[in-house]
């Protein structure tokens, strides 16, 4: 395997007595589309915050393109090519969609005109091109998720950390988003996504890590992890895997 783009080694962080992330190691291959799944409160978003520099881990290291970036502030990570989105969308509410995306584009483009033009191009990629002049606050949930994605994409990242860009969307909207995400990867951006929508994970991800109570409990292809007993139990409760098996074989 080529050198990992993002590599976490033995990362751990505790909030008071709660071990939010406990000894997690994973490596994201360049050009891949992988997913991080797990029940609510498993520590997925916390792991993202550590990878992107919003939190400094108590133990372990974060490496990006082979360099140790543990605890480096997020704006420097973004400049180096790693951009995250937020599960709870964080638009610049008073500004238009175009202005929002242009903020991302300004990372590499100093001129206002160039950033605004780039914002239009990125908006077209995620299907926001008809709403460019709307205030971000007036967008629907689906629109805001697209905006979150567009803004991150406008920074021209090497690695995109997507935190539940599909949550809260209806099946129709999800179906519309899947090709968008696939298109981003096809465009050469490595994507690591946190996702609850299993349909999407099965559909998109090449590699899946499963996090439960701060620990990595399984990894593999989507088909492998969904068959994993530990994963089923983490989602559905202790003993479920055996019960399901018994019901399946009468």
């Amino acid at each position: 395997m080529a050198e990992a783009l993002l590599e976490l080694r033995g990362v751990a962080i505790a909030f008071g007595g709660l071990r939010a992330v406990d000894d997690v190691s994973l490596a994201v291959a360049p050009g891949s589309l992988s997913a991080l799944i797990g029940p609510n409160g498993a520590g997925k978003t916390t792991l993202f915050a550590i990878a992107s520099g919003f939190l400094r881990p108590d133990r372990g290291t974060v490496r990006f393109e082979g360099r140790d970036i543990t605890g480096r502030p997020p704006h420097l990570n973004a400049r180096a090519g790693m951009t995250r989105t937020f599960q709870i969308v964080q638009p610049f509410a008073g500004q238009t969609v175009r202005d929002n995306i242009a903020v991302g584009a300004h990372l590499h483009l100093a001129a206002r005109r160039a950033a605004l033009a780039e914002a239009e191009r990125v908006a077209a990629r995620v299907g926001l091109d008809t709403q460019l002049d709307k205030p971000a606050a007036d967008l629907t949930v689906a629109g805001r998720k697209r905006l979150e994605l567009a803004r991150a994409l406008a920074t021209a990242p090497k690695l995109l950390l997507l935190d539940e860009v599909l949550a809260g969307l209806n099946p129709q909207e999800i179906a519309e988003m899947l090709p968008v995400v696939r298109g981003i990867v096809a465009g050469g951006v490595t994507v690591l996504m946190i996702e609850h929508v299993m349909q999407a994970v099965m559909n998109l991800a090449e590699q899946v890590w499963v996090l439960s109570q701060g620990r990595l409990i399984a990894q593999g292809t989507p088909a492998e992890v969904t068959r994993d007993e530990a994963v089923v139990e983490a989602y559905l409760g202790h003993g479920t895997a055996r019960r399901l098996l018994q019901e399946a074989v009468p």
Binding site: P73, P74, F92, A115
Partner: protein
């Protein structure tokens, strides 16, 4: 481009007023309204576009004013040389205070309190030091000439204020159409999202603070040139801080013309109440305060956002 045309039109209009008016009352009104505009626009750069609500902007104003006076009195520099020094001094103080407060992530009311505290500290220090004239203050010798930046009529000061306001408007317009401005507003609207997009909130806010302080310093220097006098209460007292932030808030924060409208409206209001109720001392302040409360309650976007506020109220009323 639209901004530039509007600014040119505004400057032309005020210039015509300054050139044409004969009455000292009118000239004085225009000059003082421009001065209030300068304060409001300076505050707007950091408060309106950066979302950092300073309650102690007099800190930079007073620094500029004292630097302007001290440079002339103690070192004998000409007023024209003192002016850039005064602006620089204010910028340095803004850099220092901004670095200290933003480094520790002070926001909202904490930022407001710390700036207020700094202004008070400077006021008390100015009361003690011989170089600031202590409680007596500093007085510039009367010397009416362009070289000394002192003018025989209010008209001269009007031109000077207009030049500074034009510069502040141009700077604000640049802010609205530049990468720095986009980043500043991003930090104002959502600091975490801004960080994720590669923006350094500390550096961004600090730069805005210095820019804002620079214009406050220029306003301080202007004040000394016009009134030939500065003391600790005028320089660092809350009056100037409040005048700066009210002008921007009443007019409309984060807009190009809001501070102009706000400063003009407040200045007209305070003149009017003083003239009407001058024989009932204090009543003018009551009316002034009442109008302020009404404006802040019913026009949260200020005068510049009045259309938007009315629309929203109308729609909100329709829903019950």
């Amino acid at each position: 481009m639209k901004d530039l045309i509007a600014i040119a039109a505004f400057v032309a209009l005020v210039a015509a007023l300054l050139a044409g008016a004969d009455s000292g009352v009118v000239l004085n009104f225009v000059t003082m309204a421009l001065y209030a505009t300068l304060l409001a626009q300076a505050w707007n750069l950091l408060g309106g576009y950066g979302g950092q609500f300073s309650f102690g902007h007099a800190l930079f104003f007073g620094t500029g004013a004292y630097a302007q006076a001290i440079a002339q009195l103690q070192t004998g520099l000409p007023a024209w040389v003192a002016l850039p020094l005064a602006v620089l001094a204010a910028a340095v103080v803004a850099l220092f205070v901004g670095a200290l407060t933003f480094r520790y992530g002070l926001k909202g009311s904490y930022f407001a309190l710390v700036t207020l505290a700094f202004a008070e500290v400077f006021r008390i220090v100015a009361l003690q030091l011989p170089i600031t004239g202590a409680g007596v203050g500093l007085m510039l010798p009367l010397q009416e000439s362009l070289a000394a930046l002192q003018f025989g009529s209010p008209r001269g000061y009007g031109w000077m204020a207009l030049a500074l306001v034009a510069l502040a408007l141009l700077t604000t317009s640049w802010l609205r159409h530049s990468r720095f401005g986009a980043r500043l507003q991003a930090v104002r609207d959502n600091e975490d999202a801004a960080r994720a997009l590669g923006i350094d909130p500390f550096a961004t806010k600090l730069a805005a603070c210095v820019l804002s302080g620079t214009f406050m310093g220029a306003a301080g220097a202007f004040y000394v040139q016009m009134f030939h006098y500065i003391d600790p209460a005028i320089a660092f007292g809350p009056t100037t801080s409040v005048e700066a932030l009210l002008g921007a808030i009443v007019g409309g924060m984060g807009t190009l013309w809001g501070p102009v409208l706000g400063a003009l409206a407040l200045h007209a209001l305070s003149d009017l109440t003083r003239n009407l109720f001058g024989d009932l001392p204090g009543l003018n302040m009551v009316i002034y305060g009442l109008v302020l409360v009404l404006i802040v309650t019913f026009m949260p976007r200020g005068i510049a956002g009045i259309g938007q506020s009315v629309r929203q109220r109308w729609q909100g009323g329709g829903r019950g």
